[in-house]
Amino acid sequence: MNSALKIISGALALALILGVLARPGKGMSLEQWAVGGRGFSTAIVFLLTAGEVYTTFVFLGSSGYAYGHGGAAYYIIGYGSLSFVLSYWLLPPIWRFAKQHDLISQPDFFAAKYRSSGLGVLTAIVGIVALIPYLVLQLKGLGIVVSVASYSELSATQGVWIGAGVIAIYVVVSGVHGSAWTFVVKDVLVISVAVFLGLYLPIHYYGGIAPMFTTIEHMRPEFLALPAHGESPVWLVSTVLLSTLGFYMWPHIFMATYTAKHEDALRRNACVQPVYQLMLLFILFVGFAAVLQVPGLKGSEIDLALLKISLASFDPWFVGVIGAAGVLAALVPGSMILMTASTLLANNVYRIVRPGLSEAHIAASARLMAPCVMLVAIYFTLHGGQTIVSLLLMGYALVTQLFPVLAASLMRNNLVTRPAAFAAISVGVATVAFVSLTKSTIAGLFPFLPDALKDLNVGMVALVLNVLTLAVVTPLTRRPSAPPQAGSSRGNGYPGSWAVKSERYVVRYRRTRSPFRFSQRLPRTRRCARLCEPRACRRVHFSDLPVHHAGSGRAANW
């Protein structure tokens, strides 16, 4: 075992220990497991959302993209600022609604806003389908890091299995608490390694950042600019726009906002995050430094650029440190993604398919589903040859399809009807699937468009069709007399419908025998409107009651 491999194994062990130790006491409810009891401070919310950015995608993907595609990699710098501008207005209303209704996941939000558990199932499936490539990307990174940094002592396949095992274990044991702590360690290590490499490599090989860019411009003219066709400025702008709209539609990032204790934490986040994104520059510098030093990587090999130039420049022990940063950059976000995907499966699909299950059963099955989701991701990792950035862009194209329906639901008068929401999301996702499977481009689909528009990111087609569907189906399905979202509650297990149901419950009860106005003992299996644990709470709560029941809002004690 060489020194690099020792350091990487140390990092894996550290992540595992920290993750398992972070487990908060005994008896974690789904709310504790998934959104940390909604008690995280500004600093931790900052780290959770910032940490989402510093994944394998940044560490290997964006340096590789700079190496392989040159100027097109600037898009990564572009969308950072815009998504946080959007978040200033987007997240506080989402957080308020989620808190009022004690929502756990992203599909809960859609289901509660549109009073339709079916829409919850649809958005959950879209979320899971988009999260899988994101998880695959992390595993791919893990495999690459382990095999390259161990000087091929371990194969990429072994790396994937080991890393996947560690993620699955601590997700099952600790949930989001495990992630919060390892995020701190990860961010410190990844950022210090990135800044060091981004400064050291240009100085070592070229004598500075400015000489590096002049040399590249001299040796490969136009590499640092955007090409006139293909990844042109129009491509960059449309990709930035899609990534901006999609950024907060990722189910795990959406869920990370629920962990905030106060909505001000989210607004402060929007002010600080853009500057934090400057760290991405250093990673791009690494990619550009590698262009002339380790030439010849082609296709999906461009993801190796950072590691190859590190191998050529440093002693094994330092390659080990870089490898450890790479491993953590994949493990920690990977755990968030895995946890989200299994929560979606348990809370928003399984619960609806098999109604009447107890809260504890759902929480337990969410943990059991984590290893199953992991196996699916491992399968796709070992049987696919895409680059990291192309996997990410596909995931973005999928989650962006949720944006129009979500934006409409935040309006004071939501005009969009339930069938229109269904139709729009389905049309958008079907288009993304068609486009990714057939590998179409705008130029191929619409040869009659002017040249400038032919370079639009192909995800735009899906988004445009999505909005058009909303605009067409909404007036067709709107009943002029009845208010759009009233009517019978289907009571399939979503907070919106419980509120209606429990009100009915109490009205009937008041007429019969209750000496109490607001509460009644519930049968063992029925849950109250506040989603409390059945054992902790046997009362019917109203959404307008000011005080949250002590049973479910436990302060985080991690």
Partner: protein
């Protein structure tokens, strides 16, 4: 939406419109290709502008709410 929120239009325009006209390598700014320097300057500008908007929002909130919510200073 208040008038000061219009400041947010600046970074949006800078990222979504800027690259269409500024796709060039020279002149190098601080040693970086021009478009890269432009986009990273936008990041800094975004933070500053959002900070201004946040401060203005906090101030107007404090004026309209007679008893400030204690959580705000936590």
């Amino acid at each position: 939406m208040r008038p000061i929120h219009a400041l947010a239009a600046l970074p949006i325009a800078s990222v979504l419109v800027g690259p269409l006209f500024l796709d060039r390598v020279t002149p190098f700014v601080l040693g970086r290709p021009f478009l890269l320097a432009w986009l990273s300057a936008t990041l800094v500008m975004t933070s500053i502008l959002m900070g201004l908007i946040y401060r203005a929002d906090r101030r107007s909130q404090a004026e309209t709410t007679p008893h400030p919510v204690p959580e705000k200073h936590a």
